[in-house]
């Protein structure tokens, strides 16, 4: 029996294949050759040929693609052209920066957005609502990299409270690591907080109009109790969806922020690989991003099941 789950997973794998083929093709037609980039302006043609042979770049496209796929399937992501080390290790090294960064950003945005969104919705059209709306719109409108600049100016350069960039590594201690990630996380979080606030607000508003909130009030629950016990819980379903999607956006979208704060994260690895035409790294990273996005989408679907009992049993 073909369950929807199996079909979904098959769909995921197909999408990944499509992404991998697409990225491989794009990388192949991109102008620029890793060998000539590595060897600089004075390299002679035979040196170049030697390096291309060493890197396996002289093989036909299809062979390279299949080799790469076979490698990925067996967990061998290949070796970076420029760094000369296994890509899996590179990704892992970067992930310990990007992942906590994204998590912190999510935490911060949730901490801002949920209360703000719920309060705005519960006091619709009040001054709080307008102020909340204004602030969230502002968060959305202000480019993250600009906020990053201002944050550095204020908290690192003027006040000197937090490091202006760089990452000391987790071996330097949890506190030091978190400190280094705090400003970037805030810069990343604000925009997400804006989006999340609005989603929360409209979702709570929607739920507040539902009959069951009135039922709760008819039981004698106060406005607050009905809001938090009944409305918010149900409103969280769409919020969770957005949250899941945002997580992937955060990881992927941290490129600019990682640059400004000089964090050795995944986004910067991808950019660097692109500019160095370190094709193998780029392919792996993009495939990793794609897998992440797709898995997240899938997890979000599953989280529906957790949050909404209606979807648990047989569907309608």
């Amino acid at each position: 029996m073909l369950t929807l789950l199996a079909r979904r997973i098959a769909g995921l794998v197909m999408t990944l294949f499509a992404v991998s083929a697409l990225i491989f093709l794009v990388m192949d037609i991109l102008p620029g050759d890793p060998a000539s980039i590595m060897l600089g302006m004075s390299a002679s043609p035979d040196t170049l040929a030697a390096l291309r042979h060493e890197l396996g770049l002289d093989q036909p496209l299809v062979i390279r693609y299949l080799q790469w796929l076979a490698g990925v399937a067996t967990g061998d992501l290949g070796k970076s052209y420029t760094y000369g080390v296994p890509v899996a290790g590179l990704i892992a090294e970067r992930l310990v920066v990007t992942l906590p960064l994204a998590l912190m950003a999510i935490l911060i945005s949730v901490a801002i957005a949920i209360p703000l969104g719920v309060v705005s919705a519960s006091r619709r059209n009040s001054a709080v609502d307008y102020a909340g709306g204004f602030v969230s719109q502002l968060f959305i409108a202000v480019p993250g990299f600009w906020v990053a600049l201002l944050l550095i100016l204020a908290f690192s350069m003027s006040l000197g409270w937090l490091p202006a960039g760089g990452f000391p590594g987790w071996q330097a201690g949890l506190i030091a690591g978190l400190e280094a990630l705090l400003l970037p996380a805030v810069a990343l979080a604000l925009q997400q907080a804006g989006v999340l606030t609005r989603v929360t607000r409209s979702s709570v508003l929607e739920v507040l109009n539902e009959d069951f909130v009135r039922t709760a009030r008819a039981k004698g629950l106060s406005r607050r109790a009905a809001l938090w016990r009944h409305a918010v819980r149900n409103a969280l379903v769409p919020v969770a969806t957005i949250l899941g999607l945002q997580f992937t956006f955060l990881i992927a979208g941290a490129v600019l922020i990682e640059n400004v704060f000089n964090l050795p994260g995944l986004g910067r690895l991808a950019l660097q690989a692109l500019s160095q035409r370190d094709i193998i790294v780029l392919q792996d990273v993009v495939l990793f991003f794609a897998a992440l996005v797709i898995t997240m989408n899938f997890l979000v679907d599953l989280s529906y099941l957790l949050l909404d009992p209606r979807l648990r049993g047989r569907s309608r």
Binding site: V19, Q137, P143, F145
Partner: protein
């Protein structure tokens, strides 16, 4: 108690403007468009004119908004930047919205494999971080306005495809669509006559929101040097150039930053306001 004097309620569309969002959004956007249009025929100074001796002057000391590191007039650059930002974003959203909407309504009309295919393609596009795909595109076809437009449009397509497909599917479940099918109409006719007019509001709202997003993205691309080439001023590149002057000449960063924030804010407000205005649940009570 009180006798019921009939209270007449005539439609008063201008009342919509009492909603602050719509009014604020419309005002900002209309002014921006006006400024952008004016910049086509007039700016205080030619935006590319350099006066190195006047470099890095503060606002009002030299020119309305000061000068940059080459002594160019920032106010003039902002004006032309408005045109560049708006026109690029508008073109991108126009392409993305029409393609995405087309895909969306087709998916909704055909369901099944077509829908699955459209959704998978969106997944694939979504799966590659936009900045990266933009950079790859830039590497592929060179940078410039065309690249920026394409990169943004490509990213918009799945957004619109999803929004449209979702909205269209709802319309497809309405009884009037059933009635149209009962009358013998096919997918194309129903889409044109019933589906599109009824999801137009949602698309319009989405367009305004995505316009804001497009401006942000365009700024991000320009920030990374993937936007229009110099000397055409763009807000994103002004911001990128200003980065290192943050401490010495903060207005260089603040001005274009504000311009971006203001226009995105304007579009979001407009979108919000339109959503409220167009939402049938919000009007026509009693």
């Amino acid at each position: 108690m009180t006798a019921s004097t009939p209270v007449s309620v005539r439609p008063r569309p201008w009342l919509a403007f009492r909603r602050p969002n719509l009014a604020i959004g419309a005002t900002i956007i209309v002014s921006l468009v006006a400024i952008a249009l004016v910049s086509l025929v007039w700016t205080p100074l030619p935006p590319a004119k350099m006066q190195i001796i006047h470099k890095l002057k503060a606002p009002l000391v030299h020119g309305l908004a000061g000068t940059d590191q080459f002594g160019r007039d920032i106010a003039s650059m902002l004006m032309v930047g408005a045109w560049n930002s708006l026109s690029t974003s508008a073109a991108a959203v126009a392409i993305g919205a029409s393609l995405g909407t087309l895909l969306g309504v087709i998916a909704a009309a055909r369901r099944g494999l077509t829908e699955a295919f459209v959704m998978r393609v969106s997944d694939v596009i979504f799966a590659v971080p936009p900045i990266l795909s933009a950079m790859m595109l830039g590497a592929l076809i060179g940078t410039g306005r065309f690249t920026a437009i394409t990169a943004i449009a490509v990213f918009m397509v799945p957004v619109f495809a999803r929004v449209t497909a979702g909205a269209a599917l709802q319309i497809w479940s309405r009884d009037y669509v059933l009635a149209a099918r009962g009358a013998g109409k096919g997918g194309v006719l129903i889409t044109v006559e019933h589906v599109l007019p009824n999801i137009a509001n949602q698309i319009i709202v989405q367009v305004t929101i995505q316009l804001g997003l497009a401006i942000l993205t365009e700024a991000g691309l320009s920030f990374l040097g993937l936007g229009m080439p110099p000397p055409a001023p763009t807000w994103g590149r002004m911001l990128a150039d200003a980065q290192t002057y943050l401490a010495t000449a903060p207005w260089l960063a603040i001005m274009p930053g504000l311009a971006i924030a203001l226009s995105v804010f304007g579009f979001n407000m407009l979108g919000d306001g339109l959503r409220d205005f167009l939402d049938p649940r919000e009007k026509g009570r009693a």
